[in-house]
């Protein structure tokens, strides 16, 4: 019955209709590619409903956006207080205002310097006009700047060797990618000009906008570099391995159609590719090739055994439909499990690959056989597939080693797996990119002098308009500020506090002893009014004070920190605030680097949960397929252990897992379980034909081990290619998955046969039995 069903599926008018429908669905999906884009916003790492993101956006609304480009400038010859460097900073500051989407520029040149002579007060930029810049003036700026708390650590280093320009951007958000690129390329062009005009200076840039553009560039280069390599690799590998150009072209067609359809479907669903999900096509390639290899190798085997090409194709589909379908389904389950992720791009990754595998499954039963019927497959022996034809000796050795394998190797593997639990969960924003990425290099350079990306902004809210001028409130801010400064993580703090004290001094004839808070709220308010009156365009205080002056933002700038350190600091500050703050003050806090720390940590857990669910689902599925809970449970060993060992191995080389890696477990299970399915299916098949367990192992090795090894090697190479990605998350994911697949292969070669021989000695009662009768004739 089953036989006829499969044959009808392949060779009848039904098949033509199925082919037609499948192709139609595929084509319609492919049209969705027109909606496909590449995202350039770090916020796609978060759901719109993510509370962390909402807090951040709320703060961005109250104050100003945190999208910035931070440019560090250094003179090779001296400190920055010289005519040339000051001219550079002045000119660059002026020109940066004209770059698209720039809403604010802060630099040493336009720092609002205030001084008083009796009742005469001057509040003006350090450099109002380029003609002011002389050697003497540079020295007076040096003297004044070193006293300015808002400058030192923020825009100049204490030793005066480095200065920085902070560019704040307000992107309209209509076309984030175009806007980001317009901004970054505008700034880059300016810097290139400056580098030419001022060759004795060095520049380094970092900031969130730069990071967004780095995400985009990393994704784009992965897409344009890795995918062509992948195509060539697949063509060559499949051609060589299968010994048939025709077969490999068939695979390529299925592959490309599945890939485009999956991406197109994602396009219809308005999924934008981003740095993490850009690895989807590469993973799809790898996974689909590996499963196609199984199909074609079955066909080749039939051909070699003397069937006509037509019969060979029919027979191999007929006899292997089940393992092919099951292995596809387990892979789909594994990737769908990534939906447990808190971070959308990782869900996108899982879904896009799952789409691809679904299309590959559909096409493997429609388009692939249709093509194989037409293409002339060579009947020459392919050595690769016959690696395992004479496995007598190997199985003998395995039999002899049965006990050491069972009682030494397996426990040892468990031991290594436990090391996996010692991995520290960690994420570091800069380390999303590998060291070759310009963004990471420059960010690390900047971070040695200033605090570039790592900070937390605290919004301290009162209940009344103009509430920030209350002395009680200001006293608390002062206390909070000085406590923060004492913390080892903090480099510098930014708030209007220093400015307010400075104003009090200014109003009292610049007497240094008046560098303190005003006597009362009315005084503080009036001082501040004076200050606000003097600020030039775009340099208002709205980035630190809410528009109705009911709240103020205090930013703690931190050293480069891992997500763990960041969260520790967050908790420490939270405790302090809860203990010390007056009741009427409420607070909220956020920053891009902080919310990344959170998503990093929570995503690791959510992805591991997903992997666990995938495990259970797959085990249940296998129990059903093999009609035996016993076998279902037994498959856990060859599938779970390699994953565990890979993480144990990771502990030995890295010791830290980040959010991308947690996804490895889910997707690796879906992939490696395929080989177990193919193996056990053939082994049980052998038993049913009355072969002894040992004979059946030999039978299995002959029939399927070649394809298992080859597909595993293809998968390993595919994922290793991913390991060259400049997006470090993808690279690590690729490396760890490929290690997992290698370990799984070794397990399938060494441990699985022994386990099978030991624990599966009789056939479970199953529908497979029906099959075994019909299969009997196919053995020559």
């Amino acid at each position: 019955m089953k036989e006829s069903r499969v044959i009808r599926l392949l060779d009848s008018t039904v098949s033509r209709w199925l082919l037609f429908i499948t192709l139609a669905i595929t084509l319609v999906s492919i049209i969705g590619l027109k909606n496909m884009g590449l995202s350039s916003n770090y916020k796609i790492f978060f759901d719109d409903t993510d509370r962390d993101l909402q807090t951040l956006e709320q703060m961005e609304t109250t104050y100003s956006t945190t999208d910035n480009i931070f440019i560090m400038v250094r003179s090779k010859n001296s400190d920055v207080y010289n005519v040339k460097t000051l001219n550079l900073v002045f000119a660059l500051t002026e020109q940066l205002w004209t770059v698209d989407h720039v809403s604010r520029v802060d630099s040493l040149a336009n720092f609002m310097f205030s001084q008083a002579d009796g009742d005469d007060i001057l509040i003006e930029e350090f450099i109002y006009d380029a003609s002011q810049i002389t050697t003497e003036y540079a020295q007076s700026i040096k003297l004044a700047a070193s006293q300015e708390k808002d400058l030192v650590g923020n825009l100049v280093t204490a030793n005066g060797m480095f200065t920085a320009i902070n560019v704040t951007a307000t992107l309209p958000g209509l076309d984030h990618k175009t806007e980001t690129l317009a901004l970054t390329s505008g700034v880059e062009a300016l810097l290139a000009n400056m580098q030419r005009d001022y060759p004795e200076h060095e520049f380094a840039t970092t900031g969130l906008v730069t990071m967004n553009s780095a995400f985009f560039k990393a994704a784009k280069s992965d897409f344009t570099v890795l995918i062509p390599i992948m195509i060539v690799f697949v063509l060559v590998a499949a051609g060589v391995i299968l010994g048939s150009i025709g077969a490999s072209l068939c695979i390529l067609v299925v592959l490309l159609s599945s890939l485009l359809a999956a991406l197109g479907l994602a396009g219809w669903l308005n999924i934008n590719l981003s740095a993490p999900s850009i690895s989807a096509p590469i993973i799809m390639f790898t996974v689909i090739v590996a499963s196609s290899i199984h199909i074609i190798s079955y066909v080749k085997r039939q051909l070699l055994e003397g069937s006509s090409q037509y019969n060979a194709i029919l027979l191999s589909y007929q006899h292997n439909a089940k393992p092919i379908i099951v292995s596809h389904l387990t892979t789909i389950v594994g990737f769908l499990a990534m939906n447990s992720s808190d971070s959308p791009p990782f869900r996108d990754l899982g879904n896009i690959v799952a789409f691809g595998v679904i299309f590959s499954l559909l096409l493997s039963f429609t388009l692939l056989p249709a093509m194989l019927f037409k293409v002339k497959l060579s009947t020459s022996k392919s050595n690769m597939l016959n690696l395992f034809s004479n496995m007598d000796r190997f199985t003998h050795v395995l039999l002899k080693m049965k006990k050491p394998i069972l009682y030494i190797l397996v426990p040892f593997c468990f031991l290594i797996s436990f090391l996996g639990f010692l991995n520290e969960r960690n994420d570091d924003l800069i380390k999303y990119f590998n060291e070759s990425v310009e963004f990471r290099k420059q960010s690390e350079t900047v971070d040695k002098q200033f605090s570039g990306l790592y900070n937390i902004g605290y919004s301290l809210e009162t209940t009344s308009k103009d509430g920030i001028f209350s002395i009680k409130y200001l006293k608390f801010i002062e206390q909070f500020d000085s406590w923060l400064i004492d913390q080892p993580e903090v480099i510098v703090t930014t708030s209007p506090l220093h400015r307010m004290k400075q104003l009090n001094r200014l109003m009292n004839g610049d007497d240094a002893s008046y560098y303190r808070l005003a006597d009362n709220a009315t005084m503080a308010t009036q001082h501040f009014l004076l200050y606000e009156m003097s600020l030039p365009f775009g340099r208002d205080i709205n980035d630190m004070v809410s528009f109705d002056k009911s709240a103020m933002k205090l930013t703690a700038r931190l050293h480069n920190s891992s997500s763990v350190a960041m969260i520790d600091f967050e908790i420490k500050v939270k405790k302090w605030l809860d203990k010390n703050k007056p009741d009427y003050i409420t607070y909220s806090y956020s920053s891009p680097s902080l919310i990344f720390s959170h998503i990093g940590q929570s995503n690791i857990i959510s992805l591991l949960k997903g992997a666990f669910i995938a495990f259970i689902v797959i085990s249940i599925a296998l129990s059903i397929v093999f009609r035996s809970v016993y076998i279902g449970l037994l498959t856990l060993i060859p599938n779970l252990l390699p994953v565990g060992m890979a993480f144990g191995f990771w502990y030995c080389i890295e010791g830290q897992i980040s959010m991308g890696l947690a996804g490895v477990s889910a997707m690796a299970i879906g992939i490696i379980v395929d080989d177990t399915v193919h193996f056990l299916y053939q082994y049980i098949n052998g038993l049913k034909r009355g072969l002894s367990p040992q004979q059946s192992i030999q039978f299995t090795f002959e029939r399927t081990m070649g394809a298992i090894v080859i597909s595993s090697i293809l998968l390993m190479i595919g994922f290793l290619l991913l390991a060259t990605s400049s997006f470090e998350k993808n690279a690590q994911m690729g490396l760890l998955t490929s290690v997992t697949i290698m370990l799984a292969l070794l397990f399938d070669l060494i441990v699985l046969p022994v386990l099978a021989m030991k624990f599966i000695r009789t056939t479970p009662i199953s529908s497979l039995q029906k099959n075994s009768r019909s299969t009997s004739y196919e053995i020559s």
């Binding site: 989407h101 005469d120 001057l122 004076l530 606000e532 003097s534 208002d540």
Partner: protein, 265 residues
């Protein structure tokens, strides 16, 4: 000639002496200049004025906050109009006053009186481009500059004021490179020279703010003033509305009323 015309550049007189049909033969910059001079000429001779203004600041999220001020202006053809701004609300800044004496050359002279310390401070700052009291108006928006502070360009003739009027649309670009703007585009009523709308373009030539004026009233049978002026920042979605409660002309003020010694009174 420097003048501070009304609290905004909205002051207009009635009669027109420039023949609009002559535009056709002039270059766009000459046409633009012609419209600007007509606008400038309209307001001559108002002598002085005093307005009570409520300023309502709105953020993008719907919150509001309020300021109240009184603005007194003395027409001064030689140096530019003198202005005195007295802050009345919120209570913490009540009595604070800002006196500005524009200078033909060099920095304007400004004094700020702070009642809390009962002192007048002379402020020296060339910056006029910043936000005024945290609003979307800058000092620059509120003090109209001299005619020759800009270069002009005539754009087109368009229906304006929701189709109720016909406007000359001109562009002007500030000569001062410290201005916050690259250019402004003005919709000037052909008949009464009311300025219905101004678009402000930032230094990178993107639209930054749009000012719209409405509820024009005629004072002294001569000067048109809008009672409601809204400035909307299209980049941040914040907005500020100025509501003119009263405007009085020809109070008979003199230079003495604009001397720094009167600030504390």
């Amino acid at each position: 000639m420097k003048y501070l015309n009304g609290f905004l550049i909205l002051s207009i007189s009635l009669t027109s002496c420039l023949a609009t049909q002559a535009y056709a033969t002039k270059s766009p910059s000459e046409q633009g200049f012609a419209v600007a001079s007509a606008l400038d000429a309209r307001d001559l001779g108002f002598q002085d004025s005093r307005s009570n203004i409520v300023m309502i600041l709105k953020d993008g999220m719907g919150s509001q906050t309020k300021r109240e001020l009184e603005v007194t202006i003395l027409e001064n053809h030689q140096e530019g109009d003198k202005s005195l701004i007295k802050f009345q609300f919120p209570i913490d800044i009540k009595g604070t006053a800002l006196l500005t004496h524009p200078q033909k050359v060099g920095t304007d002279e400004q004094w700020l009186y702070l009642p809390v310390v009962n002192r007048t401070k002379r402020i020296s700052s060339r910056n006029k481009s910043g936000a005024f009291m945290g609003s979307e108006f800058s000092f620059e928006d509120m003090t109209s500059k001299r005619l020759e502070d800009y270069t002009y360009n005539y754009v087109s003739e368009q229906a304006c004021n929701n189709g109720h009027a016909q406007c000359d649309v001109i562009e002007r670009s500030p000569i001062d490179k410290h201005s916050g703007y690259s250019k402004q585009r003005l919709w000037v009523d052909k008949k009464d020279k009311k300025v219905f709308k101004i678009e402000f373009y930032d230094r990178k030539k993107s639209l930054l703010k749009v000012m719209t004026a409405s509820q024009f009233k005629l004072y002294d049978n001569k000067y048109w003033r809008a009672a409601n002026v809204e400035m909307k920042n299209v980049q941040t979605n914040k907005a500020t509305t100025l509501l003119y409660n009263s405007i009085t002309f020809s109070l008979g003020l003199t230079g003495d009323d604009f001397h720094r010694s009167v600030l504390g009174e």
